[in-house]
Structure formats: C-alpha cells, structure tokens
C-alpha cells in the first residue's frame, strides 16, 4: 500500500511536468528542454522566499513560498516564450536548440548563485507525519502530491473543454495551420501554453521540495528525463495518455526499486520506454506527431 501510494505520488509529480511538455509539443512542435529550468526556478523561488521569511510561522511561510514559486514559474515561462521562442516561429530545430541552451544556462546560473549542494526547505511538519490507510503508514506528503496533480488534471481538462483558448489549443494540437486559416492568432495560445506548462512545472518543483525536503540544482534535469519518458509513453499531445503513463511509470519505479534493488526502478522505467516504443511507436494513446 505504501509502495502503491508512493508510486502514484511520484506519478503525480511526473504528470505535472509531463502535461506541460505534452501540450507544448502537441501545439507548437517544440521539445521543450527548458522545462527542467521551470522546475528549478519554481523550486528555488520557493526556497528563496522561505529563507527570507525567517520568523514567520511555518504554514504561511510555506504557502507564501509556494505561491511565489508558482508565479515566478509562470512568468518565467511566459517570458521565455515571448523572447526566445516566438521570434523563431516555424524554425523548429532552432527552437529546440534554444531550449537546450536555456536549460543548461539556468542550471549553471543556479549553481553559480547558490552552489551545488542541496538546501533544506522548511515545510509544515504535517507533511512528514503519517496517516494510516488500509493498515499502512503513509507519509502525508504523498497525499499532497496526488491531490495537487488531480486538481491540476481537472483544472486543465475543464480549461481545455470549456474556454475559448482551450478550444483553440485543442484544435491547434490537431492542425495548427487550419487554426490560423480561421483567423486566429495562434501565437497567443503558444505563450499561454508555455505559461501553463511553467506553472505546472513550478508546482512540481515546489512539491518536489516537500517530497525530498531539499532543493538542489540537478532536481529539474533528473525529473525532466522521467517526464520525457512519460510523455513519449503516453503519447505526445494527449492529456489522458500522459496521466495514465505517469501513474504507470511511478508505480513501476517504486515497485522495482523495492522488490528488485534500489536503482533498478529507474532502469526498469527505461526498459519500459523501450518496450512501449517497440510495440507501439505511437505511445499508449496512439497520438503522435
């Protein structure tokens, strides 16, 4: 039970990151290697805010830090799109390369300013305490992860189904050119999608601070790789496929780590990717570019 909940919890984390990646690729055709930077920026913004609020009680301190992390993530992602991606419209390779450069630069900058070591991030003690569920003692942070991801999934789905921009994005993922042929400026949708991805990634960064209790420069990159695997397994551009794949990956990782040996979990995820791609190159949901 603990394994399952932890697995789903990790899956929740991967989903948050993968959902943004999937939307960005589906709509814009950009493999966003800077997504890890969004995670890192959100995580560090949160830590930095908390470190400045030394005397404040833990809950407001935590919540404020988280909020700042989210806002910074969204703004950063939006700016990245406006300044770096938009000018390279239709030059897909260059767009991907720029995100690679940005990812590398951001991690380096963070190391430059705060060093390579992990820093502890204060969080309410309740996250470390456990709740008993079906006979197992489960740390509460898992619930935080799962609930957050569910909220995001529901919010995103509602956004896509009920709003005009959601409509534009859904259509754009299918056929970007035709959307412009209807008189719609897709570029605004691009910035929006990047900002959404940024918020989700920053949220993942904030939550990973809670789960790992520390923040470190490599966190964004290591989580990103798993998120990429999730996106490919689930099928690029499909939100439901991404959610399903995220849960599967999280579970596989946990179970393999426990039953086989630590570290084998990561390897099994990689093997899983290879397997899925060989059997179904279009990913679980069958949608692929």
């Amino acid at each position: 039970m603990l394994l399952t909940v932890t697995g789903v919890g990790l899956g929740a984390l991967y989903f948050l990151i993968a959902s943004g990646l999937s939307l960005i690729y589906g709509l814009m055709g950009v493999l966003n290697f800077a997504h890890g930077a969004f995670i890192t920026v959100g995580a560090y913004a949160m830590w930095f805010t908390e470190s400045k609020l030394g005397g404040v009680p833990i809950w407001p301190r935590f919540l404020l830090g988280a909020l700042v992390g989210l806002v910074v993530g969204a703004v950063f992602a939006g700016l990245v799109e406006l300044v770096l991606i938009r000018p390279l419209y239709r030059r897909h390779i260059e767009q991907v390369l720029v995100t690679v450069g940005l990812g590398l630069s951001t991690t380096a900058l963070v190391i430059a300013i705060w060093g390579n070591d992990a820093r502890p991030v204060p969080a309410p003690a309740w996250f470390g305490e456990t709740t008993t569920l079906a006979g197992a003692n489960i740390p509460n942070d898992r619930f935080l992860l799962i609930v957050s991801a569910l909220v995001v999934l529901l919010a995103l789905t509602a956004f896509l189904k009920r709003t005009r921009y959601g409509l534009i994005i859904r259509a754009g993922v299918e056929n970007r050119a035709m959307v412009t042929a209807l008189g719609i400026d897709v570029r605004r949708a691009f910035t929006l999608v990047f900002a959404i991805g940024g918020v989700a990634a920053a949220l993942a960064g904030v939550l990973s601070n809670v789960y790992f209790t520390t923040v470190d420069p490599g966190r964004g990159t290591s989580l990103l790789i798993f998120a990429f695997i999730v996106v490919v397994i689930g099928g690029l551009g499909s939100l439901r496929g991404t959610a399903a794949a995220a849960v599967v990956v999280g579970l596989v990782q946990q179970y393999a780590n426990y039953y086989a040996s630590s570290g084998l979990g990561d390897l099994s995820v990689v093997l899983l990717l290879g397997l899925v791609l060989l059997v179904r190159p279009r990913g679980l949901s069958g949608s692929f570019a």
């Binding site: 409509l167 259509a171 299918e174 035709m178 042929a181 209807l182 008189g183 719609i184």
Partner: protein, 233 residues
C-alpha cells in the same frame, strides 16, 4: 483592370520545385471565378499562397491593399474565407465546436449556415471525425460562411463525393456566389459550368488562359488541351 483580388508575378517554391512561376490574374468582384488545370499544376498552391500558408514572392492585393507580407490570420480577418482541399475539420472537436472556433468579431451568421445545412444543427454535439465525407464538407463550407467574407477561396469541394452530394454542393455554391465573391478550384467541369462566371487556367505553374467560363467550356478542343481527358460533367 484589377478586381477584388489581384495577383501579379506570384512565385512559390516548395522544397526544390518552383511550383508557381509568376502567376498573374484578377478575381472580379461578385460571382464565381474558377481556377482550373490538370492535377499538379499548382491550383491548390495558389490558394495556399493567397492565404499566406506558404512562403510566397510577388504581389497579392485584396481590395487594393497589399497582403503579400501579411500573416495568415490577419488575411483571414480582412474578410477571406477558406475551404481547404481536404476539408481539414477538427476531428476531435464537435460540429458545434468546429463552428464556434470559426467565429470572429461581429455577428456569426448561424441562421444562414443552418438554413443551408440543417443537418449541422442536428449533429451539433457529434464529433466531427465521425462524420461522413459529405457532412465534413458541409462543416468546412459552413465555417467559411459564418462570417461575412469578401471572398471565399474554395478548393475542390466536390472531391470524393457521391453525385447527389455534388449537386447539393453546387447548389450551395450557387447560392453563396450571390452573397460573396468566390475563387473556386474545381476538377468537376459540370459544377464549373453551373456556377462559374470567369475561368483562369493554369499549366505547370503559369496562367495559360483567362476568359469567360462558358466560352472556355464550349470549346472542346481547348478543354481537352488544357484540362486533359476524363473530367466528369
């Protein structure tokens, strides 16, 4: 004489081929101008160039204003409707959503659209991907009619449709041409005969004939030479 749409020295390169080699023609205001030619001469590319969907060089004027450097979505907002060759309806969206997406500022003309295509009202909540070819064509045309456009660019609307549907589409085109100027790419000469006023004929990236549609179609030798054999009437 220049018309609503005025094209001068239009060049388009796709990959290594020089697909349009200096196209020049006018689309007079009102009525249907047919863009004709054998397969592969560049008819669809011409429409896509007018829409800004491919990189182009030359001069394209809409109502006297130069739109050669204008991005697609702005061209459309100046009053250009597009019905693409493969319909390009959004399969994952419902019929309603497909139409809603096409709404621009102003009053969307749902009454007109549902009057022409009552089926679309019934099938509003149906996923566009599950529609038949003919029904998808209706959605594609309806989308372009929803707004008051100065000109409609329509690409082979009867392609792959059963004869009954072909007649229906021709009827719709005839009605529409009373409201808007239409530039129609069509292989079906019967439809052209029915609705078209002017004809522009392309051959390997160049314009080879411009004139009244009826005259061209009455001349069997010209039809055979420029449009090839095997066109259904």
């Amino acid at each position: 004489m220049s018309g609503l749409l005025s094209v001068r020295d239009l060049h388009v390169h796709l990959g290594e081929s020089h697909v349009l080699q200096g196209i020049e023609f006018d689309v007079p205001e009102g009525g249907v101008t047919a863009l004709l030619g054998r397969n592969g001469v560049g008819k669809t590319t011409t429409l896509r160039a007018l829409m800004g969907l491919v990189d182009r060089r030359g001069s394209i004027k809409l109502g006297g204003e130069e739109i050669t450097a204008t991005p697609t979505h702005r061209i459309v907002r100046r009053g250009v409707g597009y019905v693409p060759e493969d319909r390009d309806v959004f399969a994952g969206l419902t019929v309603d959503e497909n139409l809603r997406l096409a709404e621009r500022d102003g009053d969307p003309r749902y009454e007109l659209v549902y009057d022409l295509f009552p089926e679309l009202k019934e099938r509003g909540r149906q996923l566009a991907g599950t529609l038949s070819g003919g029904q998808q064509q209706m959605v594609a045309i309806a989308r372009a009619l929803l707004n008051e456009n100065r000109v409609l660019l329509v690409d082979e609307p009867t392609k792959g449709l059963a004869p009954l549907l072909v007649t229906q589409v021709a009827d719709v085109l005839a009605r529409v041409s009373e409201l808007t100027t239409v530039l129609l790419v069509e292989q079906n000469l019967g439809v052209v005969q029915r609705v078209a006023r002017e004809a522009v004929v392309l051959d390997t990236g160049r314009v080879v004939h411009i004139g009244p549609a009826k005259e061209l179609l009455a001349n069997e030798a010209m039809v055979h030479r420029m449009l090839g054999v095997g066109h259904a009437a």
